[in-house]
C-alpha cells in the first residue's frame, strides 16, 4: 500500500527580551540556579503579573513577518496542571484568542519546488522552570530561572508531507525569527524547540490517521531523523494489523528511536479559563504602525535585493542570506572591499570551508568582516595574488594579525617589478629547452594550455609572489618567436 505522511509542527521560540514576560527578573542564560527568580516567578501569594511590552511587540512583529492576522484583542488564559517547575499550578498562555492568527511561509525544497505552509496561529506564553532529578538523595531539585521567560508558540497547519519538508519549514521559521531579531534561535540553549505531530494515511484518503506527538527536539538533524523513524514505526504497526495510539513520544538521539512517554490519562485536561489577573491585550493602529516601522528586512526581501544590487545568482543569494549573520557579514565585506563578486566568492568559498572544518558559526569566525575585507582590498590593488591571499587568510585565521601585518611579516608582497619578473621568465625558459621547442612547434590553439607549465615553474621560483598577469604577458612575448 502507498502511504502518505502528514506532519504539523509546534515550535516554541524564546523571545529575546531582557526581562521576563510577567516580571522584572532577568532572562540571561546560564546564571546560577534561582538567582533570576523573584516573587512573581516563584508564585508567591498576592503577586500580580505585569506584561512586558517588548514581548508583545515581538509577537506582533512575527505576525507581520508571516503576513498573519494580528488580533486587535487577545486574551491570556490559565492552563492548569501541577508540576513543581511551574509553581503557580498553571501556565499563563493564550488559547481561544491568540495574538497572531493565520499566516503562511514559503519553503523551497532541494529540487527548487516552492511550497506554502500555513501557520495556524502563534501565541504568547511563559516558560516553566527546570527539574533536576539526579543527586538529591531521592528528591528533585528545582531551578526557576527559566520560569516566566517569554515564549512564542508557533503552530503550523498539518501541511508537511515529509520529514524534509518539516525541516525546511522549521528552518524557515528559524530564519524568520532570527532575522527579525525576536529570538537568538539558539537550539543548544533551548531557545528554539520543536514538537512534531506525525500521522500516516493510505494515499488518497481524506481522513487523517491517528497522530503521535514527538516532543522537545533540539536540532534540525534530529527532527528529520525522529520523524522518519516515527513514520516507519507507524506504517509497520498498521501493516502488521496494529493501531497507532495517540500519545506523546520522546526521541532518543543515541538509539535513533522514539518511545512512548508514560502519561496519565487526564494529563491533557488543562481546564483553560481567562486569567483574571490580566486584562485583554489591545493592539491598536499606532502600536501596529510602530512595529511595522521597526521591522528589519525579511530574508526573502533581502535575497531579492542581493540578486539585484550585487548581481548574484539565485543560488548564491540564497546561500548568502541563509542566516542574518551571514548576510550581514557579506554586506560588510562587500561594502568595505568595494567588490561584491569577490566578497561573495570568499564568503562562500574560503571562509565557509574554514568555518565548516571547525564546525563554527559565522558569528564565531576568527576573521571578522572588516578583516576579510582588508584582505580582499589587497587582492584588488594587486599587492597579492588570489593564491597568496589564501595563504594570508590561513595565517589570519590562526590569529597572526591583519592582512597587511601578515603580508609584511611573511614578505608576501607580489612581485610587480617587470625587471625581476623578466629575470625569472628568462631563467625558466633557459632551463627547459625541450618544453620551449614543444611549445613553439605546437598548434596555436594548444599553446594556451601548454603555457601553464612555464607559469607553474615561475610561480614556484617566486614562491607564488610573481604577478600572474605580468608573467603570462612576458611569457607569451618571449616564447612567441
Amino acid at each position: 500500500m502507498q502511504w502518505e505522511t502528514v506532519i504539523g509542527l509546534e515550535i516554541h521560540t524564546q523571545l529575546a527580551t531582557n526581562s521576563k514576560i510577567f516580571s522584572g527578573s532577568p532572562t540571561a542564560f546560564g546564571a546560577e540556579p534561582n538567582t533570576q527568580a523573584n516573587l512573581v516567578d516563584l508564585a508567591m501569594p498576592g503577586v500580580l503579573p505585569a506584561l512586558n511590552r517588548r514581548a508583545v511587540e515581538f509577537a506582533v512583529r512575527f505576525g507581520r513577518a508571516i503576513e498573519a492576522h494580528v488580533a486587535e484583542r487577545s486574551v491570556f488564559e490559565r492552563k492548569n496542571y501541577f508540576y513543581p517547575d511551574l509553581p503557580k499550578g498553571y501556565q499563563i498562555s493564550q488559547a481561544e484568542l491568540p495574538i497572531v492568527g493565520r499566516g503562511h511561509v514559503e519553503i523551497v525544497m532541494d529540487d527548487g519546488e516552492v511550497k506554502t505552509v500555513g501557520v495556524t496561529r502563534a501565541h504568547l506564553e511563559e516558560d516553566a522552570g527546570k527539574s533536576l532529578h539526579e543527586d538529591f538523595h531521592g528528591m528533585t531539585g528545582i531551578d526557576l530561572n527559566r520560569a516566566g521567560t517569554p515564549l512564542l508558540e508557533i503552530v503550523s497547519e498539518p501541511d508537511m508531507r515529509s520529514a524534509k519538508e518539516a525541516v525546511a519549514y522549521a528552518r524557515k521559521i528559524h530564519q524568520i525569527v532570527t532575522y527579525i531579531g525576536i529570538s537568538d534561535g539558539n537550539m543548544q540553549e533551548g531557545s528554539f524547540r520543536c514538537d512534531a505531530n506525525v500521522s500516516v494515511r493510505p494515499k488518497g484518503q481524506e481522513e487523517l490517521g491517528t497522530r503521535t506527538e514527538l516532543k522537545n527536539i533540539n536540532s534540525f538533524r534530529f527532527l528529520e531523523r525522529a520523524i522518519n523513524y516515527e513514520i516507519e514505526r507507524q506504517i509497520d504497526l498498521i501493516e502488521d494489523g496494529g493501531r497507532v495510539v495517540q500519545e506523546t513520544r520522546l526521541y532518543d538521539a543515541n538509539k535513533d528511536e522514539t518511545r512512548s512517554m508514560r502519561s496519565k490519562e487526564e494529563a491533557n485536561d488543562y481546564r483553560y479559563f481567562p486569567d483574571p489577573d490580566l486584562l485583554p491585550v489591545v493592539i491598536d493602529q499606532a502600536f501596529m504602525d510602530a512595529v511595522t516601522a521597526d521591522m528589519p528586512e525579511l530574508p526573502d526581501v533581502r535575497r531579492a535585493r542581493f540578486q539585484a544590487q550585487y548581481d548574484l545568482s539565485p543560488v548564491d543569494a540564497n546561500i548568502l542570506t541563509a542566516t542574518r549573520a551571514t548576510a550581514d557579514y557579506f554586506e560588510a565585506v562587500a561594502e568595505v572591499s568595494g567588490d561584491a563578486r569577490i566578497a561573495a566568492n570568499w564568503v562562500m568559498g574560503e571562509l565557509a570551508a574554514a568555518l565548516n572544518k571547525e564546525g563554527r558559526d559565522i558569528e564565531q569566525s576568527p576573521v571578522d568582516a572588516q578583516a576579510l575585507a582588508g584582505l580582499l582590498v589587497r587582492i584588488r590593488d594587486n599587492t597579492i595574488s588570489g593564491k597568496i591571499a589564501k595563504q594570508v587568510f590561513e595565517a589570519m585565521w590562526s590569529g597572526e594579525g591583519t592582512a597587511d601585518e601578515v603580508i609584511e611579516a611573511k614578505g608576501l608582497k607580489q612581485i610587480t617589478d617587470t625587471g625581476a619578473i623578466e629575470a625569472l621568465v628568462d631563467e625558466v625558459i633557459a632551463a627547459n629547452p625541450q618544453q620551449v621547442d614543444n611549445y613553439r612547434n605546437a598548434e596555436p590553439e594548444k599553446r594556451p594550455k601548454m603555457i601553464g607549465f612555464f607559469v607553474g615553474q615561475i610561480m614556484k621560483k617566486s614562491q607564488g609572489k610573481a604577478n600572474p598577469q605580468q608573467v603570462n604577458a612576458l611569457l607569451r612575448e618571449k616564447l612567441g618567436e
Binding site: N34, E266, R271
Partner: protein, 95 residues
C-alpha cells in the same frame, strides 16, 4: 445535569483537593446544581454578545522591558522547606 461520584473524584484530583469519602455525595449534588444554573443560562440567546474576558472595561497596560529585580535567592530559600546548592528540593517527580 448531574455529576457522578467518579466525576467529582476526577475533578478533585485535577485540583489536588482531598475529598473525604462522606463528602462525595454532597459535593456531587452541589456541583450538579451549579451546572443546572449554567444550563439555564445557556438557553439565553447570546449570539450578538462579545464573550467577556474580564469584568473590567479596560485593557492590559504594558510594562517596559527592563530588569528591575535583583537576586534575593538566599532570602527566598530561607522560606523553603528544603533547599540545596541553590535549588529548591521537592518530593521526587518522574516524567
Amino acid at each position: 445535569m448531574s455529576l457522578s461520584q467518579d466525576d467529582v473524584e476526577k475533578i478533585a484530583h485535577l485540583a489536588r483537593l482531598a475529598v473525604a469519602p462522606d463528602e462525595g455525595a454532597a459535593l456531587s449534588r452541589d456541583l450538579s446544581n451549579i451546572l443546572d444554573l449554567v444550563a439555564q443560562m445557556e438557553t439565553v440567546d447570546t449570539g450578538g454578545v462579545e464573550p467577556m474576558a474580564h469584568p473590567l472595561e479596560m485593557h492590559q497596560r504594558l510594562r517596559p522591558d527592563e530588569v528591575t529585580e535583583t537576586d534575593q535567592r538566599e532570602r527566598y530559600m530561607s522560606n523553603a522547606p528544603q533547599a540545596e546548592n541553590g535549588l529548591f528540593l521537592v518530593p521526587r517527580v518522574i516524567e
